[in-house]
């Protein structure tokens, strides 16, 4: 059964870092998770109350809740390998 990667990217305004993170993320997803991912960008400047729920303290933070386990990746996601390991995409890639 196909799983959908539900990804939330927390940012604080349109900064260079958040833009970089978003474009990196989109790039990896297109490459490895084509058609089975969903990206939600949450701007904490607009919805600061959401920060507490996902325990966000740094931005940008990418949160993956589904599929389990929960993973958080902070930073501009420039290190491709770390992101892929973090998102448990590598095993998918292997197959």
């Amino acid at each position: 059964m196909e799983e959908t990667w539900q990804l939330k990217l927390y940012v604080a305004g349109k900064t260079i870092k958040s833009a970089a993170a978003l474009s990196n993320l989109k790039k990896y997803c297109e490459e490895y998770l084509k058609g089975k991912y969903k990206i939600e960008v949450i701007d904490l400047l607009v919805k600061p109350q959401l920060a507490e729920g996902d325990q966000i303290f740094a931005v940008p933070t990418l949160v993956k809740k589904v599929p389990e386990p929960i993973r958080k990746i902070i930073g501009d996601l420039s290190n491709k390998e770390k992101v892929l390991v973090g998102l448990n995409i590598i095993p998918v890639n292997k197959s």
Partner: protein
Amino acid sequence: MATALSTKKDTNIRLQKSPTGIAGLDEITEGGLPKGRPTLICGEAGAGKTLFGIEFIVKGATQFNEPGVFVAFEEKSDELAANVASLGFDLKKLVQEKKVRLDYVHIERSEIEETGEYDLDGLFIRLGYAIDAIKAKRVVLDTLENLFSSLSNEAILRAELRRLFEWLKTKGVTAIVTGEKGNNQLTRQGLEEYVSDCVILLDHRVQNQISTRRLRVIKYRGSMHGTNEYPFLIDSNGISVLPVTSLTLENKVSSQRVSTGIPSLDNMLGGQGFFKGSSILVSGTAGTGKTSIAAHFANAACMRSERCIYFAFEESPEQIIRNMKSINVNLEKHVKSGLLKFHASRPTLYGLEMHLLVIYKTIQEFKPTTVILDPITNLVTVGTVSEIKSMLMRLIDYLQKEQITVLFTALTLNTIINENTDEGVSSLVDAWLLVRDIEFNGERNRGMYIMKSRGMKHSNQVREFVINDHGLELVDVFLGPEGVLTGSARVAHQLMEKTEDALKAFSLNRKDREIERKSSMLEAKISGLRNEFESVKDELNRIYQEEELKQEVLNQNREAMINLRKEKVQQSTKK
């Protein structure tokens, strides 16, 4: 910019402070922590940093109407609330009332990957949101350093921390940041670099197996502050610091007097007893009745319907009550009526400073007019003489300020009076009674002196101090050619004097009677002579009358003769 400039001007005049509400700390810092600035609280694990922060927030919310945000990096909000509930802080209620906001920043190392550049804006936003939600004036971050163990990019962290503190300042919140003590630094990550306004170190030291918590204001920019190490106590009411060394000697004094409970001792002190609010030291060797004097004093206070606390370091309250019953002092009824409170603790229970704090707190709660410490010498087991002296000095200071009369008892270990003993408090106290053994004539008796009593006339004599079923009494000792006599020697002497008196009275009687007899004899003599005199007078009278009679008869005869001759002449002429 203009507002920033004007606030700067204000702070130049006087640094604004935010009271912590922590008992004693505001006195040390002369008003509290720097308002609108971050303060670093550092210390080892278990030093009380978190509690300090919580209390700052809770007191701010409840006493100073300053809502606060507590950001925990270590404990979950629920755990935190449960932990401090035992201290009487109802965090949940305060949270509901929107006076306090708890935020638990949980960083699960295993869930996190770091890739590339990031910043801590998330934290800023969370904090900012929390601050704005309740219009917080106070923020506690406990413990920021946890970030360092969770994140590996130290360069970013440091830059972000610097930014965080700047940001907190612009937010205008008074912040507390806690940090664990590092090896050669105040904190492991050198947080002190970022927080430069106020740094407070909490310390937890074990000395002679007794642990004492201490607090020291290491730095406080732009403000006077106490520089000493101040012991502090964590008990059911949270933290209390004792700002123990009062800097001035400006205590007001009373000229009101209080009875010692022993009338004859009052007489020695100008007839009225001690000054109210003064400190009295009763020292003496073992078994000289120091506790008895103390119990009398306590009893007298309770009799005046005043409150009294009895700090016992040697005997249990029951023991004291029982023992004092034997000398006709009923302390039990005062305990029952709530006027007298016993506070018994082993000296080794905690450190000296802690004792002082406990005494201080108990006094503040009970509000007595009289305090008794029996005996202060036992405290030697937990401190050096100089430590005890400084402790007592601060205690006396405090009591004087509160106008509480205090009586210490002290055990002198040697029988020779040593003016330097008694933990050196003899110079601090206002009155010093010395009870000593006088060994003479094969028995020991108690003698009492008043070594000093500031500001009043007092007897300079030694009194014999007698403890009997009725209580304590002071008896004038006998000062005679043989020296000072006490005990049975004194009684013997008194008996001797009595005998002498009787004898003297008897001999006086005899002399009186003799004189009486003599006088009656003389009177008899006088009456005899008077009789003689009467008879002589009679005789004289008789002779005189006889003579008169004789003269009369003679005159009659002569007249008769003359008449007779005339008749003869007439007859012859007729013839």
